[in-house]
């Protein structure tokens, strides 16, 4: 992005005039050769939060990546090389994300970076990664901007986004519940993007927005908004409320017993955020990309492997955050195998457009990595709280209502907003 503002001329001019400085700085577009010897391990930086708002999701994300790395090492590594990982806490703070990414690339010599839940942190890391040409996997941030205006050639986005979930839900909900909608929107970029997608779909399918209430970030009490909902009596309320706000919100809707009426359309519910909570905390319809009880081959084994590998973890079954961490890492390593090289451009090309059969990913439909936006286009599930929930099976919180094929929920605005850097403008190197 920033590089786009420089012309080649000023760049060369600068290099000539500033010869004294360029002695230290080196040529701008350099080829780093860390891995001359083929037995040198491949190093991966895990950039997940261990403190701050997303510490808990970050831990789950990290367990997924580590399981994929362990499995690869047990098979003898990739291209005959062992995989090593480094983890540094990104603190759920974007500025820390930048610094950690710099350290991982320049000091820890990581050839790949993986991990994020918070979109600000993901952005910060991806800017640094793009500067050095290092491939970065955004595992779990579901902001539409990630594969839209803030996309990068080196960044790949593995989660479904707010638009995907809205597309899966809106038409169905108009038909089932009615056309008078109210929107509760978190007053920041992610909330507004998600609400915009919902509004466009409402306009398309004949729904109406009665009122939109903006909820400032960091709100802990939703009573006034919930009273307003009662006064307006909409058929459906679509809530785009994220992070800790969502957790408080969920609790308060449950206390009011308003979960059943009106009908609620919620954004994605991350498994680490709901795990261990009472079932009445879940209400309405919400999205997810994976559930540990999907009726598909391989799912049960996957859950068993998780339980054997992490016997002491409080969370006894894997969820969507773990799943994304695992799948993204596994796909990255197999892309390196396919490319037959750790050259970043070769690996990027092996990832772009790559098709992933449904059976491999334990989802209902084939997925692919969109070459135009670098977002993984995948099955979107809508779920509700499990109506047959029992104390004996207390982890069985969800009931999957529908699964939608990726081409039906494509974020069609993303390719217009996303301008990937060219291969030539991306520094190349071998990890």
């Amino acid at each position: 992005m920033s590089q786009g503002k420089f012309t080649r001329r000023t760049l060369l001019g600068g290099a000539a005039a500033g010869s004294a400085l360029t002695v230290f700085a080196g040529p701008w577009k350099h080829n780093r050769v860390w891995a001359q010897a083929s037995d040198k391990p491949i190093r991966i930086g895990l950039t997940s939060d261990a403190s701050g708002q997303y510490a808990n999701s970050g831990a789950s994300d990290r367990r997924g990546m580590m399981m994929a790395i362990d499995e690869a090492n047990e098979r003898g590594g990739v291209l005959g090389r062992k995989i090593q990982w480094v983890h540094i806490d990104t603190e759920t703070v974007p500025a820390t994300g930048s610094r950690v990414a710099e350290r991982m690339i320049t000091r820890e010599e990581c050839g790949f970076l993986i991990g994020a839940v918070h979109s600000g942190v993901a952005n910060a890391i991806s800017q640094v990664a793009q500067k050095y040409g290092v491939i970065y996997l955004n595992t779990n941030s579901s902001s539409p901007t990630e594969a839209g205006q803030n996309c990068h050639r080196t960044k790949f986005v593995w989660d479904g986004n707010g638009t995907n979930f809205a597309k899966a839900a809106v038409k169905n909900a108009i038909d089932t519940y009615g056309k008078n909608w109210m929107l509760l929107t978190n007053d920041y970029v992610w909330g507004h993007d998600t609400a915009k997608a919902t509004k466009a779909l409402l306009a398309q399918y004949g729904g109406e927005v009665m009122e939109e209430i903006l909820i400032p970030q960091g709100t802990r009490d939703f009573s006034s908004a919930l009273l307003r909902v009662q006064q307006q009596k909409p058929a459906v309320v679509s809530a785009a409320i994220g992070g800790d706000d969502q957790k408080a919100f969920r609790q308060q809707v449950a206390q009011l017993g308003m979960g059943a009426n009106p009908a609620w359309i919620n954004s994605q519910q991350d498994w680490p955020d709901v795990y261990g909570l009472p079932i009445d905390n879940l209400f309405g319809v919400f999205g997810t990309t994976w559930y540990y009880k999907l009726d598909l081959p391989g799912v049960a084994d996957f859950v068993k492997t998780y339980q054997e590998r992490y016997p002491d973890t409080q969370m006894r079954v894997p969820g969507n955050v773990f799943y994304n961490g695992y799948m993204s890492t596994r796909e990255l390593l197999s892309a390196v195998e396919r490319a037959g090289s750790t050259n970043n451009i070769a690996v990027i090309k092996a990832l772009e457009g790559h098709k992933m059969p449904a059976a491999d990913r334990m989802q209902h439909h084939d997925a692919w990595i969109d070459p135009a936006t670098h977002q993984v286009q995948q099955t979107i599930y809508l779920a509700t709280a499990n109506s047959k929930w029992t104390e004996a099976d207390k982890d069985g919180l969800f009931e999957i209502v529908t699964n939608t094929a990726p081409d039906a929920v494509l974020d069609t605005a993303a390719p217009e907003a996303c301008k990937l850097e060219s291969y030539e403008d991306t520094p190349s190197f071998d990890a």
Binding site: I215, G218, D221, S223, Q231, Q255, L256, Y275, M315
Partner: protein
Amino acid sequence: MTDILPHLLNGLTLGLLFALIALGFTLIVGVMEVINLAHGSLFALGAYFALTVLGAGWFGDTAFGAWWLSLAIETRYVAALLIGPLLAALAGMALELCLRPTYGKAPLYGLLLTFGAALVIEEIIRLGWGTGEQNLQVPAAINGPILVAGFIYSKYKFFAAGFSLVAIVAVWLFLERTPYGAIIKAGAHDSEMVRALGYDLSKLRLLVFGFGAALAGLAGIIMVPIWGLRPHVGIDVVIPAFLIIVIGGIGSFWGAVVAALLVGLAVGITGAYAGAWATMSMYILLIVVVGFRSRGLFGRKSALEN
């Protein structure tokens, strides 16, 4: 126009909750001249202790634990309401012991020490109780919805507001109508006098800080069924508490209560009609008040300014 009535009721309820949040903070600033930035962490700690008491925690696998869990939730909840703040008070007293070297120096040192303590307590919570989201159970009698004039309110929130009202009056009576209160207030303004009367000033400070921490812990137990429970839940506490005492005026008990009610009304009403401004309304209130009365609504020039 009747449209706004439910929001007024809701705003007042919110205001009482804000007052509860600010209570322990106000007490410690007013009496001890310490801006306790660990207030939020003690708030969280109280709630986590209550969680442990409710679930038999450390005795979970023993016969005592089994007996405890067989008791009614109401009994255990009342026990948690008593034991949680008590343990938070112990933590607060430990913090007061750490604070001692800073007395007599600029107020900054207390601020800094409690800032460090906030980091430490939050990490201890992560280590002790895990990073995940937890749920503090409350008895069914005070949970669930209630209909008032055709609108659904949360029964629990009315309980919490009522509880807060009782706590405010109790603390006020304690400060104004008991000899202990008189000594505490004297300690705030004239430590020489307290010594002359034969009281041990350092013990007094220990107890006041413990009392403030207990109130923080109590607020935590009452608030987390509404906010949810996670290790960093305390960061949402310090800022409102802070704004409230600046608006109300430092050292003024009723100033804090009035400020809390004003903040509650402002947030409640903007939340319904101009949602985007709900949080901003607190800050606007602050700027307006401080612009006209720089010591807050009821603040007087005090010894703390030197």
